[in-house]
């Protein structure tokens, strides 16, 4: 190393590469650490600005070509299940929904279950339900306005609406019969207590 040469003070210049390389190395190492060490996330938050608020207006037709209006279902607990016949978790949760629906049918004041069709054709949905059972109403959502109104981007999602028309709970992802029963009982108890 020259002791006096062009390029600035020797002390720094002689080590310039090492210093810069170390600095870059630290930044890259930080990037790695951040990515690798971060802990797995919990289930995606099922928050929504609609919780505790009146449900959006839902007016559509069912697959049987009957009119459906959410406001006319006041007085019953309503459950919306947004689904699509090709999505894997939807297919996985379907038997649970069938079991839930049958149990509810035997109960005194049944919760009404409706499937909201998300980006699927009528024929595909009919074929799916024929193959897999499930005789509740399926609501069309051709322009996606119901999905947007609830803020549903990915299926499956399940929503619970109380007899006054207020949104009480949102599940993102596949559900089980036990989960639905448990939460529904909680909500109904709270509702009676009001």
């Amino acid at each position: 190393m020259r002791d006096r040469g062009i390029g600035g003070s020797t002390a720094f210049r002689g080590r310039r590469s090492s210093v810069i390389a170390t600095a870059v190395g630290i930044v890259v190492a930080l990037f790695f650490i951040v990515l690798v060490v971060s802990s797995p996330e919990d289930r995606e938050s099922a928050a929504s600005p609609l919780l505790g608020n009146p449900a959006p207006v839902v007016k559509s037709t069912t697959l049987d070509d009957m009119q459906f209006e959410l406001s006319r279902r006041r007085g019953s607990w309503v459950m919306f299940n947004f689904f699509n016949s090709t999505c894997v978790p939807c297919r996985q949760e379907h038997p649970e929904l069938v079991a839930f629906h049958e149990a509810q049918a035997a109960a005194g004041t049944p919760t009404e279950l409706y499937s909201v069709i998300n980006d699927d054709s009528d024929n595909a949905v009919r074929a799916f339900f024929e193959a897999n059972r499930g005789d509740w109403s399926k609501i069309r959502d051709d322009d996606g306005s119901i999905a947007v109104a609830f803020g549903v981007a990915k299926v499956p999602e399940t929503w619970i609406i109380d007899p006054n028309g207020y949104v009480r709970m949102r599940f993102i992802g596949a559900v089980t019969k036990n989960l639905l029963d448990e939460k529904l009982t909680e909500l109904q108890a709270a509702f009676e207590g009001m």
Binding site: M1, G5, I6, G7, R13, G14, R15, R16, S17, S18, I20, A21, T22, V24, G25, V28, F31, F32, V34, L35, S38, P40, E41, D42, T86, A124
Partner: protein, 659 residues
């Protein structure tokens, strides 16, 4: 049809295993030959390089054979093969998914490794060449490892499958799928060679100017392919995807842009190294960064990390790529820290107002641009990892930062071609820039006269005209002195590339700022008008075959030729794909898409019309860039490496020494 029935898989896998062994032994023979200074052992590495190349070719051919014969015993063919896909798209289906595209990468890499081994076989005893070859073997080994391990293209599939869904419908629409991925991959993989020589230079602590010429040629070659590949990608986006744009700043596109940015910085700053002997360590760093970014880009797009930061550890290939990226970066940083100061050349740049100064400014700007794109792409990952919430960094972020950077770059393109080396006076600049500046004013006047608005596009037009004037000035002077030779060589070819870049920038500015769009509901026989053009629905066309049903509408534009936007429904995938129809002219493109739902029986159709000014200039600019790159590769006047580079500039001619 002849079916390979289970033989193709094991044969392909055998080829890959042989290639893996070949790469490993090639690396070992290079290292041992270097240590023991044994020429025979070094020459063995040639054989191993050939072995690896032949294996890669064999594996790729085996995959194509399996695809063409619809060998559904392989899992990969079950994923992307189909009996109803036409021959062309079946052929290209090989690189339509992960395993096959890694195979294509490997093919390019193994062939290039063999090329390096054979081209420099006379110099294999030089530790720099041996180190470079060893680096290439390491990279080849890694990619062979991927195909033998997590991304095995010849993995057997479920038994009893006789048909498959075919490739993604978006990849069955346009012949570009035959060109865009291979050209892009040649660009990516090509940067491995300059990277290998950079590592060799760092390891041996030497940087002979002779090697600089070789690596510069390869870097230009790879850069040219990468540029053309990116432009073809933009064209594909325009012609196939149907949203009427060319660039969406999505992570896959950014992954291809990042190495391009550092590569462009390199091909400019290497000229400073040739002329003044400076910036050597910086250039080595740029080469290393370009290669690292190709690996990082592959990691980001293939590992699933962008869907969720936690998905990547669940995917098979993510950890491998991340580890390799880490090894490359750590090894390079250690080498630079250790050797960098030895390689640094003393020297100063006399004045910021000189060509060296302009190249330095260019490099700073490109470095900032690369940082912006990288930050925007990985920022959502960092936020999700640290705070567990999902954000998006999308187009508006990149556009608002890239536009001012682009405008400053255009400005640099105005003055750099006329700047002499060493130092320039304002008097000189004002002399040389006079007519180019008036070109800029003329371009601005034309734009304002035609009704353009907005300060950013207007600045782009002005500076674009200015820069075109500067580039044309250089070309005119060079052809005046040297006739046809005035169009070849680095500086002149570079000017043609610049003109291409300017055309693309102007086209982008115009189409981003002045696109008009409208949705029209057309009734058969009743013309509708928009933007000064009339559109009339003249009929519906329905077609169907084994893989898709299509519905197209005939729209007559301005009472003339009919254009047919369409919607295709792919039966096996259940997916709808819209295909636009475009009427191009030099001043504007009329872009039509068909909107669902379409009811042929009702005599009505909804279409969307986009009127996009100057889109054709973009493709013309791309072709100019390709032509200019080819012309720039022609050898210019050879310089002996020991010629003093800072000779005073002769005063006889006002343009200074050629090239």
């Amino acid at each position: 049809m002849l079916s390979a029935g289970g033989v193709g898989g094991p044969i392909g896998r055998a080829f890959l295993l042989v290639g893996l062994v070949g790469a490993l032994f090639g690396f070992v023979s290079c290292v041992m030959g270097m240590r023991q200074k044994d020429e025979k052992v070094l020459h063995l590495s040639l054989r191993f390089a050939t072995l690896s190349a032949v294996s890669a070719i064999g594996a790729f051919v085996a995959m194509e054979y399996a695809m063409i014969t619809r060998d559904f015993s392989l899992d990969y063919i079950q994923k992307v093969g189909s009996r109803s896909t036409p021959a062309l798209y079946n052929f290209t289906a090989v690189w339509s998914a992960l395993e096959g595209s890694i195979l294509m990468w490997l093919l390019a890499l193994a062939l290039m490794t063999a090329w390096v081994a054979w081209r420099y076989r006379g110099k294999i005893t030089d530790p720099l060449v041996a180190s470079a070859l060893a680096t290439m073997f390491v990279t080849a080994f890694f990619f062979f490892l991927l195909t033998v391990g997590p991304a095995n293209p010849f993995a057997p599939g479920e038994a009893g499958v006789t048909d498959g869904p075919g490739p993604n419908p978006l990849l069955q629409n346009h012949i570009l799928v035959l060109f865009h991925p291979p050209i892009l991959y040649i660009g990516y993989v090509g940067f491995t060679i300059p990277f290998a020589f950079a590592i060799g230079a760092l390891i041996t602590g030497r940087l002979g100017e002779g090697w600089l010429l070789e690596t510069r040629r390869w870097a230009l070659f790879s850069w040219g392919f990468l540029t053309f590949g990116i432009i073809l990608g933009g064209w594909w986006s325009y012609e196939v995807l149907g949203w009427s744009g060319v660039w969406a700043w999505d992570p896959v596109e950014n992954a291809s842009l990042l190495p391009w940015i550092t590569g462009t910085a390199y091909i400019h700053s290497v000229l400073v190294q040739e002329r003044r002997g400076m910036l050597r360590v910086w250039n080595l760093s740029l080469l290393i960064a370009t290669f690292s970014l190709t690996i990082l880009g592959t990691f980001l797009t293939r590992s699933g990390i962008l869907n969720s930061v936690h998905a990547f550890s669940e995917s098979d290939i993510g950890p491998y790529l991340l580890t390799f990226f880490a090894i490359v970066v750590v090894a390079s940083l250690v080498l630079i820290g250790w050797r960098g100061d030895r390689l640094r050349a003393p020297g100063i740049i006399d004045s910021p107002m000189s060509r060296e100064g302009a190249f330095l400014a260019n490099n700073v700007l490109f470095a900032v641009f690369a940082f912006v794109v990288l930050l925007g792409t990985v920022f959502p990952l960092i936020v999700e990892a640290l705070q567990n919430r999902q954000i998006v960094v999308g187009e508006p972020f990149f556009d608002s930062l890239a536009t001012p950077i682009g405008i400053v770059m255009l400005f640099l393109m105005c003055i750099a071609p006329v700047l002499p080396w060493r130092k320039a006076s304002t008097e000189l600049l004002s002399q040389r820039l006079f007519w180019p500046a008036w070109c800029g004013v003329a371009a601005l006047a034309v734009a304002v006269f035609l009704g353009a608005t907005g300060i950013e596009p207007l600045l782009t037009f002005t500076l674009g005209g200015f820069a075109t004037g500067a580039a044309l000035r250089q070309l005119v002077l060079a052809t005046r002195r040297q006739k046809w030779r005035g169009l070849v060589g680095r500086a002149n070819g570079g000017m043609i590339v610049h003109i291409g870049v300017i055309m693309i920038s102007v086209a982008l500015a115009a189409s981003n700022s002045y696109t008009r769009s409208q949705e029209l509901t057309l009734t058969k026989g009743v013309p509708a008008s928009f933007g000064g053009h009339t559109f009339e629905l003249t009929g519906f066309v329905e077609e169907s075959d084994a893989r898709r049903t299509s519905i197209k509408v005939d729209v007559s534009v301005d009472g003339g030729k009919s254009y047919r936007p369409a919607i295709h429904k792919f039966i096996s995938m259940g997916q709808n794909v819209g295909t636009p129809s475009v009427k191009s002219s030099w001043s504007k493109d009329i872009y039509l898409t068909l909107e669902p739902p379409v009811k042929p029986t009702s005599d009505e159709a909804k279409i969307k019309v986009f009127i996009k000014p100057m889109m054709t200039w973009m493709w013309a600019g791309g072709i100019l860039m390709a032509i200019g790159t080819v012309l720039a590769a022609f050898p210019g006047r050879r310089r002996r490496p020991t010629d003093p580079v800072s000779a005073p500039i002769p005063t006889a001619s006002s343009t200074g020494p050629a090239s």
